[in-house]
């Protein structure tokens, strides 16, 4: 049955040799573009980021300008829609496309800032616990379990209800709540890395502790960090949408996708596009971040591919 349909076994070494001949950059490119999901995720994410950055240029109208006589205009593909408002208008006559473009800024801003805040807290704690072990590890583990005992959405709801919802409050609350996964992953990754020879070598060479942590360990646990960071950014965006949907997140008239979904729910029985458009965008954004994160992990550390 060794028919010609199968490639001859002998060709394998030759192709491996071909890979070896490639430069490091070319190998990276091949790994990147070899993954369809990564290309798709990053591409989509880049488009959304570009759109958010260019919102003032791209938006056909002021996202806050309401015109009550032009309310609930449907998107252009409906008979009653028009080119003036491509995606129609909302219940106060504000241009839906413009609000979506500006809304992308809010979602990305929240995703990114929450990721940075919680990443800083979580990574620091994780590195300290993993590197020093002992009492430091005990304290950090205690903090992590305490944090894990509190449901994020509930605590966020309570805090926002007490302090009052606004963009900075939402970012801060989510940032201070979502560091746990960073800490857990960084802690175990650091523990592994700490036992490796190059750390011992650095210690033997007399490198200072900060240098070892920042120069030797951190770069080597970076792939895991990236995955967690993307997961957290995506989940922060979703959480903001949930909070805004419940009326406790970003406050009107600021355009946020979550808030737009919340405002549109009043009209979902008859004007479903009001809820479908921001809903789809939100799903695409979260999907693209997750795909990009997965892909990046594979590119940076292909040996960790599961």
């Amino acid at each position: 049955m060794t028919g010609t349909a199968f490639p001859p076994a002998t060709s394998a070494p030759s192709s491996a040799a071909a890979v070896a001949e490639l430069s490091a950059g070319a190998r990276l490119r091949r790994r990147m573009f070899g993954q369809k999901s990564f290309v798709f995720g990053v591409g989509l994410l880049l488009v959304i980021v570009a759109v958010a950055l260019l919102a003032p240029v791209l938006a056909p109208h002021d996202p806050y300008a309401q015109n009550l006589s032009q309310r609930m205009v449907p998107p252009f593909w409906y008979a009653k829609g028009g080119w003036e408002h491509l995606l129609g208008t909302d219940n106060l006559g504000r241009d839906y496309l413009s609000r979506l473009l500006y809304g992308a800024r809010i979602s990305l801003l929240i995703g990114l800032s929450v990721m940075v805040i919680s990443g800083l807290i979580g990574t620091t704690l994780g590195l300290l616990a993993g590197y020093f072990g002992g009492k430091a590890d005990l304290i950090v583990t205690f903090l992590i379990t305490t944090r894990l005992a509190m449901p994020v959405i509930l605590v966020a709801l309570a805090v926002v209800a007490m302090v009052g919802g606004s963009l900075p409050v939402v970012i801060l609350v989510l940032g201070l709540l979502k560091w746990d996964r960073f800490a857990v992953v960084m802690r175990s990754a650091t523990q592994q890395a700490r036992a490796l020879d190059y750390v011992t070598a650095a210690e033997a060479a007399g490198a200072s502790t900060p240098r070892i942590i920042l120069g030797e360990i951190l770069p080597n646990v970076f792939p895991q960090l990236i995955v967690v960071a993307t997961l957290e950014a995506a989940s922060a965006i979703l959480l903001e949408a949930a909070l805004s949907f419940l009326g406790l997140g970003v406050q009107p008239p600021l355009p946020s996708w979550g808030l737009m979904i919340s405002e549109a729910k009043t009209y979902m029985f008859f004007s479903f596009w009001l809820i479908a458009i921001p809903g789809t965008l939100l799903a695409l954004l979260v999907l693209s971040i997750n795909l990009a994160g997965d892909g990046l992990r594979d590119v940076v550390a292909p040996e960790g591919r599961g």
């Binding site: 806050y64 309310r71 009326g247 406050q251 009107p252 008239p253 029985f269």
Partner: protein
């Protein structure tokens, strides 16, 4: 024969299945089959005792479970005897009532002078803690003359007394009330009304059933409706879904947009009309206001100039609404906008005024609201366009009232239905006569209102109220917005009328 029955059986089964999945064009209506009406309402009253809540649903329940001494015919405005057969004005401050005999409370207690005397004396005592002070503060005392005769004295001359006695001032059973108090009346309410409370799950639902012993001469004639279930559903979408799926037969205060759309659903209909409810925005100018900027009259004027009330009425409030220029309902006795300045929509002027008040970069305020959120958001949009950033704080009414009474509110999106009392004493003074909801407190305004409340001569009353209203407008203490229409969405076969007092009258309703 047998084949025929078999076919019929299959047909019935198919019909039942279709009805079950809602595919049949005319499914059996929930309420129609057993003469019941199911209403969904968004706010739950904190206490159904009419003296201990000030929300519309409380008024609705109050008028069904309890009766008043006098009844005002909503069509003609004529006063008719209800628990009182007749009455007369003895002098400026004294009224005498002959009570109806043979009326029984739902618990069997007989209605007589003792109940009237007890109720009026209890509610008018300030330490009884009645929520609706303005409805009872005018009563000095009630005395029993004989078993069916009562004399009521007012603190001052109070021409609107009859109006109050035909609206919010209901009669409680003295023995039961003395025993259980307002809390007990909330748990197990007892009145004389055409409906009695069959079940009350607090904050969830209240079920009323026809009172079989109701007195036949009452102007509230009992109709065919046997039971009324009122469910408290805070979320509008759930209410919509319920009425679309025939879980409830009636919802009210539906926003114009949704009413317009839902009117196209074959098994539903929309009934609408103007109401006495006015919408306005209060601005906190008290000494320790959380928004000191509001103490500047120019800022307050800017806020009024910023809002395009005409367009709001036309586009989002809906038919049956009109723009108001003073804080009262135009048809109430004593309400006028003569002599009051009008503030046209002019965002440029608003900006200019802010600049003059030394806020060239605009100001930031909080606005607290509890209903018609789309209207609040439209106002926020207008304010933003004039350089005033308003942050929304959307709450249940009781929480909003707490903010106002606790001096924590800056701007409010208020609505007031005057307890359907057709006299200015029931509207403007509530917000400007130093009562708990007054967050401007101008003594001049208070004195004029007091004069209007207590003068005998109708012309003198009108003049005093007119001056007070003009002063409020001149000093820009509040933003007068518009009167509200009410949109009901109901099952197509439910017959009822939309009254200006926002009171669905279940005793009058019928199923076609």
């Amino acid at each position: 024969m047998t084949i025929g029955t078999g076919k019929m059986r299959i047909g019935l089964l198919a019909a039942a299945l279709l009805a079950g999945t809602g595919l049949l064009a005319q499914p059996a209506l929930a309420g129609k089959s057993d003469n019941s009406v199911h209403l969904a309402y968004d706010q739950a009253p904190e206490n159904v005792d009419p003296f201990f809540n000030n929300v519309r649903i409380g008024v609705i329940i109050g008028q069904h479970v309890w009766d008043t001494l006098i009844y005002r015919d909503p069509d003609t405005g004529e006063y008719k005897g209800q628990l009182a057969k007749s009455w007369r004005q003895v002098d400026d401050r004294t009224l005498e009532f002959d009570l109806r005999e043979g009326v029984k409370f739902h618990n069997g207690e007989e209605f007589d002078a003792d109940d009237v005397v007890y109720t009026l004396n209890f509610v008018s005592k300030p330490d009884s803690g009645v929520t609706t002070q303005q409805n009872v503060a005018w009563i000095e005392k009630a005395e029993k003359l004989d078993k069916y005769k009562v004399r009521v004295t007012t603190k001052q001359v109070f021409p609107a007394a009859i109006e109050y006695l035909s609206g919010p001032v209901v009669m409680h059973p003295n023995e039961y009330y003395a025993k259980v108090g307002p809390q007990g009346q909330n748990q197990k309410p007892v009145g004389t009304g055409p409906f009695r409370v069959a079940a009350h799950e607090m904050g969830k639902s209240i079920t009323l059933e026809k009172n079989p012993d109701y007195f036949k001469d009452s102007p509230k004639k009992q109709g065919p409706i046997e039971t009324v279930e009122i469910r408290f559903i805070p979320d509008r979408q759930t209410q919509m879904a319920e009425v679309l799926s025939e879980g409830v037969d009636l919802i009210m205060h539906v926003p114009k947009d949704q009413a317009d759309q839902i009117g196209m659903v074959p098994h539903l209909k929309v009934v609408s009309g103007e109401t006495m409810r006015i919408v306005f925005m209060q601005m906190n100018t008290l000494d320790n206001t959380p928004a000191p900027a509001l103490k500047d009259e120019r800022v307050r004027r800017a806020i009024i100039h910023a809002i395009d009330r005409e367009t709001m009425v036309k586009e989002i409030v809906g038919a049956g609404s009109r723009v108001i220029h003073t804080i009262c309902f135009p048809e109430q006795f004593g309400c006028t906008d003569e002599g009051a300045p009008r503030y046209e929509y002019d965002p440029a002027k608003a900006r200019q005024l802010l600049k003059e008040a030394r806020f060239p970069n605009g100001i930031e305020l909080n606005i607290v609201a509890y209903r018609e959120r789309n209207q609040t958001e439209a106002m926020i949009g207008y304010l933003q366009a004039a350089g005033i950033k308003a942050n929304l704080n959307f709450l249940q009414y009781a929480a909003m009232r707490e903010q106002i009474r606790g001096n924590k509110a800056m701007l409010t999106h208020q609505t007031w239905g005057s307890f359907s009392v057709n006299d200015v004493s029931a509207s403007t003074p509530v917000y400007f006569k130093f009562e708990s909801d007054d967050i401007t407190r101008d003594p001049e305004v208070r004195d004029l209102l007091q004069k209007g409340d207590t003068s005998v001569d109708p012309e003198a009353r009108k003049e005093a109220y007119g001056k007070a209203l003009a002063l409020i407008a001149e000093r820009a203490y509040a933003v007068p917005l518009y009167s509200l229409p009410v949109y009901y969405v109901a099952a197509k076969d439910l017959e009822f009328k939309a009254y200006a007092d926002e009171m669905p009258r279940f005793w009058e309703m019928t199923w076609n």
